[in-house]
Symmetry: C2
Subunit: 884 residues, 2 copies
């Protein structure tokens, strides 16, 4: 019989931390903590298989689920000694989602479940605090009605505000138990009016409703968007955790908080967190009240007056500290813990690996490796390669002039400059229009995800370091300042004020997410200086990896950046980028517009010296490292002017009739330029172009060898080959030229970027000394999908669940990967020592890099800023495959 | 040691007819005839390997070639008793090309080789005819200078004309031996002046020069064009035949001629041919003098006065007749024979399978099979499936009004209508501009091939049934009237006159190639009536083949035509063609322009009844045969107006602001529409479109089943699938609809037209009951080659020898074929009874059909007119694979 429900609590559990895929992160860790003997409120987990089965079977639950849920409930009752639905000794439950990957704030939670008009009186007696019981009941009605029944929480907030006004009260704390009783009646009336039926009083019905809502929330729109942005497959599903309630809001001996076992911002080994006295857990995460520090040191550093937990709850804090050590030693990683203190007793609600900045990740991994807690391989595996993006971002120049506007919390590191915008939709639009924006909000909610994604940085007026804005921004690698409490936003007027200054929509701000500072106007930024931890990790990575890392670069700046970031060669030098520079563009256009070979040769003759110097510069910087130079690739049409005005001015400068230029331009236009006259097809039609380029390469080699005494290593790459004959012809031409010039230190190879090239790789390898997989074009042709056009309908595909990950970001291993595999096998069969690499966008994507490692490619090539990411990802791939 | 040279003659030979690939058609058959004891002038063949080796090794001959050539020469000298270069008893040679496939007039020939200032005197003594010897020498100088030395023959013609004028002569026959001696001097002086060196006197140098020229002619431009048009690979190479000269021009007991053992026009068993008294062989083929009939019957039929060969040379004709029987019985096929009579002695210069019209091919094959000479399988193999195109062309309606302009020879059957054009380049241009043209020339030459290809039909004023125009037109399946001697063409004025009528460029003519009639203006045409031979062959083909043949059709006319031609089902019904009809186009545009689903559904609701009736019509015609209906495929942009004017008028008729229409049109435009939002991607984005189409299919099935009592068999085909998930989602939608409507007699499948679909065919087959290979798109994506754009640079590829055959005409078995093979294997592994077919243009191409047969596909689908071709090609594939 399939087991759908797993119990935990009372020092034992049916699950454990290894069952994360089945129980979700929260459920697996609750089970593990229970087994470790830690104080976890007893409960049970409905597995992710329930979710998957539910959606696979037309929204129907498995048959045995109901019986197993009842068993789980009985186990809780046995451990707590309370009864679910009992009027005298009522058991209350929390119902929380818990997916395999953390999705903060994305899905639904219901607390205090089991309360009704009768059990609330039992709770009042049991707790000896009728006000608390009624407060819990009204919270439950609000939360349950909002999450499960679909009654907007504004309904309840309005009733409460009106009542408070009628009583002349300002704060909830001023309301008595009797007030809450009146409000509860009003709440229930409102629910019945809106829904046409009474708020459910049957606790079992309440439970079923909450479970339905959590599973349902897996497919709500904000969860779908979050998964898309974070590459989480819909098929993973969520688990549901049902747990006995504990109360952080039972008076001043109760509290609730979140804590990290190390500082998630910089990685230092000091407890780090926040707590709120007399509050329920969600109050901290929601960022509505500004919480207090956990430790005395932190309180002093922040200059806060209200006591730290260390001071206010010394005994519980000591127990908590001990728990921190237990958990970190057990999991061998920094933990992010949620806890509640109910009348002086500590309860643990959750533990998980804590999210951290890239800087912290490096420090924690290095510290743990150096202290011997983990191996250097483990340290490498602990760092998400993509998080390196954060470390490599620019910071503010310390010497730059600045105009400090205000300060908030350093919620997510990095500096950014942008125009102020107050609305997420607007942020997205401006981003599309090519603007850089900073999103300024009182607080953010899951509805703002797309705006946060579009923004360079986020500023919030409210909320702490663990608020929605902070957590999401860190995850995205966006700089964020949260809780900048001086800011007053007027959404209507599209402006905000700080003290007496007014900042309008469109004004430029600069923020430093590492310090929490917000500046008016533009502050100069500088390149990041990388810490010693960074170079330690990179050294370990270089030792562990077997894949070489190259960069896609052609400008002197990019080539230098690439080398500085550790690129071991150039994997893709796009020579056409060189033609777009203004004064050679004229010559290149002259070449295109020539009606015969002699005219073309004359024009190319003028480009030769500049192109030669381009290559010489690259060879000088790369000092003998291999440089793969791709000969001209794009269709000639791209080089001609397209607007009426441009055509007129170009015609004038070339001394051509405008009509002739338009004619030639129209002649060159193509229905499907991606599949048109480009790549080596140009080399076949106009051999003189490739001859000029090859000549420039060979002559540059000779010049630079004379200068630096090292032999520049040129790999000449022919693009868009679809048949062995094309390559053979072009190779012969280039080789003849090399012989004439006396060039020796070069090889000739090809891109494999068309399915036919992959299928005929065996024959092509007779002429190619290397293959470089051009996975951008290979993805386009394998899928029959234009990257320029796919944007219009791929969202439909994501919505329909057809595509999990954008195949232009992460390599489609099922389809494109098959072709690469075929090409690798056939290529090696013909030429056992053929050099193999990849130079599409995928060369900087960690999971694609793992695929390349497993195929035994020689190198990946990516954009310069991605080189460190690739070095780390390649190391991880090597370690994982060694372990497998 | 490699053997490069093969001798023949004197009743024996080193080669035979089976060695056609090595010796070329001519060389192999000369060897075979020599072995049969037939009178063949002795000679030797330089093999096609010499040609291949020459071009593969940078235009260098194999080392041993020279010695072997000398040995061959000695053998000829031994058999003839003459000596090459001897002044007293000179051996003269002919040097002719001879490739594996016949390429009439494409390559070079040199006759009378070995003559110089001294040997010419020997020939004079030997023949006793000094005038003949000098005439031969001047012919040799002209031919050799033109072909080998590159001096244009106009040079010699001018000298001759000027001399004749100076002597007051009109005809060559009026010139004496002394006149020829003077002219020869003038010729030699002209050559020396133009080239800077003397005309070569050394016979061995002459021989080497001629051999070089023939091998060189393999790569001349007109040969390259001919090969491209006739799908002959360059790698085949040509052989060179060196043979002792025999003379048909040694006076009135000498003659030369060509003959067919049956009538190549209608296939009847009667000798058929032409001869010229006192002429060299090339005079007949060149069509300069109008030749006489071979038989008396033919002479009487044509109303000729000059004696037939049967009457003029009764003894030689008897020997020739016997030879005809020997050769036809030996080769078991109609033979095309060249012969020469030298002073009463018969010599055979060539035999080969005779080219024939499709009608003749059917008659000959059927006659030979019925007489037991060959099997019915052999009869099927004898017919080139592509030649059927001729049979299926329309003929003139016998009752139509007509205005007879003139008559010529019925050189190639079929009727055609077109505008008069006098120039081949112009013919090609007008064809490109979409016009139908008839090319009118005094005579044609190999330089006119492209114009003949572009024309609907060809008319020549001079030349016989075996003239260049006739032979080439028959090969191309173009109707042709040759030797329409009344026509006088004025190329300058761009007009021709017949009697007193003038026809100008651009006037319309109609021709009937089967009767030789030329009509002024347009004459009504009618569908071809197929002969009993045709249906016999088709019946034999249907028995032999295992592949089913379907048609690509959707209009009632096309569907009916397809059924009449024997289509066993519809393999591709393109539903979008139905939307282009004017009144539904408006509704379809309304659908496209709707901003929401409800608007789209409203518009589709209006299209539903028409679409349903479309399908009902097809089901009625096909009477239960399977009909594969492809759901909407092209991008929506194609349905919107594109020009300013069209946009304005459509906007008005839809009651939309013009600006909105332009905006939506721009929004839908794509960079690479081939790779854009089309095919099943539309079905994912707008499920309501496919739902409407499926509903129309199911409802039409129910209607037609009620009418005809047979269950219409619908195969619903989803286009452009790239992942199993797409198909799964769309299948589910359609199946649900079918259940609702109660449809049962249907299956759902997919096009395999993207590389990814082929690679994931195993997973896709879980949801597909059939695969139809869409080889058009699969070729585009596999090659990364847009069919719309490739035309611009494919000629460069053909010139460079990279592409032998247009991959959009003949399936690329190396690349695309691999993907099809992968998909077939994977598809069958998942679903052993999966139905497999092909519906690209390749479905009507014989070699692609053979590929499909060998893969074991169930059917091919092609355009209606190609159905008989496909039936025959499928039979041939079955027979060949059975024999292999």
């Amino acid at each position: 019989m399939t087991k759908w429900v797993y119990s935990f609590g009372g020092g034992q559990a049916e699950g454990n931390t290894a069952m994360k895929n089945l129980l979700g992160g929260k459920g697996a860790n609750l089970a593990e903590m229970a087994s470790l003997g830690l104080p976890v409120p007893p409960g049970f987990t409905l597995s992710t298989d329930v979710c998957t089965s539910f959606y696979d079977n037309g929204n129907k639950y498995p048959d045995k689920l109901s019986a197993q849920t009842n068993d789980g409930l009985k186990t809780i009752e046995k451990i707590t000694g309370k009864l679910f639905g009992s009027n005298s000794n009522p058991l209350l439950l929390s119902v929380r989602s818990g997916a395999r990957a953390s999705m903060p704030g994305m899905m639904d939670t219901v607390l205090n479940l089991g309360l009704n008009d009768e059990t609330v009186e039992g709770l009042a007696k049991l707790s000896g605090d009728r006000r608390f019981a009624l407060d819990s009941y009204r919270r439950f009605i609000t939360m349950y009605s909002d999450v499960v029944l679909g009654v907007h929480h504004h309904t309840f907030e309005d009733i409460l505000e009106i009542y408070k006004d009628s009583q002349g009260c300002n704060l909830d704390t001023e309301l008595s138990a009797d007030d809450w009783a009146i409000i509860i009646d009003k709440y229930k009336t409102a629910v019945a009016r809106e829904l046409g039926y009474q708020f459910p009083q049957d606790p079992m019905k309440q439970l079923q409703g909450a479970i339905d809502a959590v599973f349902g929330s897996w497919m709500n729109e904000r969860a779908v968007v979050y998964r898309r942005l974070n590459s989480i497959p819909a098929a993973w599903g969520t688990a549901v955790n049902v747990q006995a309630m504990v109360f952080g809001n039972m008076g001043d001996t109760s509290a609730t908080g979140v804590a990290f076992t190390r500082n998630p911002s910089n990685g230092e080994k000091s407890y780090y967190g926040e707590y709120l006295i007399n509050a329920q857990g969600e109050d901290v995460v929601a960022g509505i009240r500004t919480p207090q520090s956990l430790t005395k040191v932190a309180r002093l550093e922040m200059g806060e007056e209200s006591l730290s937990m260390e001071e206010a709850f010394p005994e519980v804090f000591a127990e908590l500290s001990e728990t921190f050590e237990t958990l970190e030693n057990h999991y061998k990683d920094m933990q992010d813990i949620e806890f509640t203190v109910e009348r002086g007793k500590l309860w643990l609600l959750q533990t998980r690996s804590g999210k951290r900045t890239a800087k912290a990740a490096f420090k924690i991994a290095v510290d743990m490796a150096l202290s011997g807690q983990i191996s250097s391989d483990d340290a490498l595996l602990r760092i998400d390669p993509l998080s390196l993006d954060q470390l490599l971002h620019p910071t503010l120049d310390p010497n730059a002039k600045r105009d400090l506007l205000t300060m908030g919390l350093p919620a997510s590191p990095g500096a950014a400059i942008g125009e102020v915008v107050f609305d997420s939709d607007e942020a997205e639009e401006l981003k599309k229009a090519g603007k850089k924006v900073i999103l300024v909000r009182t607080e953010t909610s899951p509805e703002d995800i797309h705006g946060m994604h579009a923004a360079e940085a986020i500023i919030t007026a409210r909320g702490g370091m663990t608020s929605h804005a902070a957590v999401v921004a860190r995850g995205m690698g966006r700089p964020c300042v949260s809780g900048a409490g001086d800011i007053r936003i007027d959404y209507e007027a599209k402006e905000f004020s700080v003290m007496n200054r007014v900042v309008k929509r469109g004004d430029t701000l600069t923020i430093d997410g590492a310090t929490g500072q917000v500046f008016f106007g533009l502050v100069d930024m500088m390149q990041p200086e990388l810490s010693g931890d960074f170079s330690k990790i990179m050294n370990w990575a270089d030792t562990a990896r077997t894949l070489k890392i190259r960069a896609n670069a052609e400008t002197p700046l990019d080539v230098t950046t690439a080398k500085d970031f550790g690129a071991e060669g150039i994997g893709l030098c796009r020579t056409e980028h060189m033609f777009f520079e203004e004064h050679r563009l004229a010559h290149f256009r002259e070449m295109i517009l020539s009606s015969n070979k002699i005219g073309r040769q004359d024009a190319l003759e003028k480009i030769l010296p500049v192109q030669r110097e381009d290559f010489a510069t690259i060879f000088r910087i790369m000092e003998g490292r291999p440089c793969t130079i791709r000969l001209l690739d794009p269709p000639l049409h791209e080089f001609l002017p397209h607007t009426e005005d441009d055509i007129a001015s170009v015609a004038k400068s070339l001394g051509l009739p405008k009509k002739e230029l338009m004619l030639r331009s129209r002649e060159l236009a193509e229905t499907n330029p991606m599949l048109g006259h480009r790549g080596c097809r140009l080399g076949i039609s106009y051999p003189e172009i490739y001859e000029m380029q090859a000549r420039a390469i060979f002559e540059a080699q000779i010049i630079v060898e004379g200068e630096i005494g090292k032999k520049p290593n040129a790999e000449i790459m022919i693009p868009l080959v679809s048949s062995p004959e094309e390559l053979e012809i072009l190779c012969n031409t280039i080789k003849k030229l090399a012989d004439k010039i006396g060039a020796k230190n070069y090889s000739i190879g090809t891109m494999i970027e068309l399915p036919r090239a992959a299928l005929l790789a065996g024959e092509i390898a007779h002429h190619a000394e290397f293959f470089s997989f051009g996975t951008n074009d290979l993805t386009q042709t394998t899928y029959g999908l234009s990257r320029d056009d796919a944007g219009k309908f791929l969202p439909d595909y994501v919505r329909a669940g057809i595509i999990e990950k954008d195949p232009f970001v992460t390599l489609d291993q099922d389809g494109v990967g098959q072709l690469i595999n075929i090409a690798v096998l056939k290529g090696r069969k013909t030429r056992s020592d053929i050099k193999l690499g990849i130079c599409g966008e995928h060369g900087g994507d960690p999971s694609s890099i793992e695929f390349c490692h497993n195929l035994g490619l020689d190198y990946v090539s990516c954009s310069p800023y991605r080189v460190p990411i690739a070095r780390l990802a390649a190391a991880q791939a090597a370690i994982l495959s060694k372990r497998a």
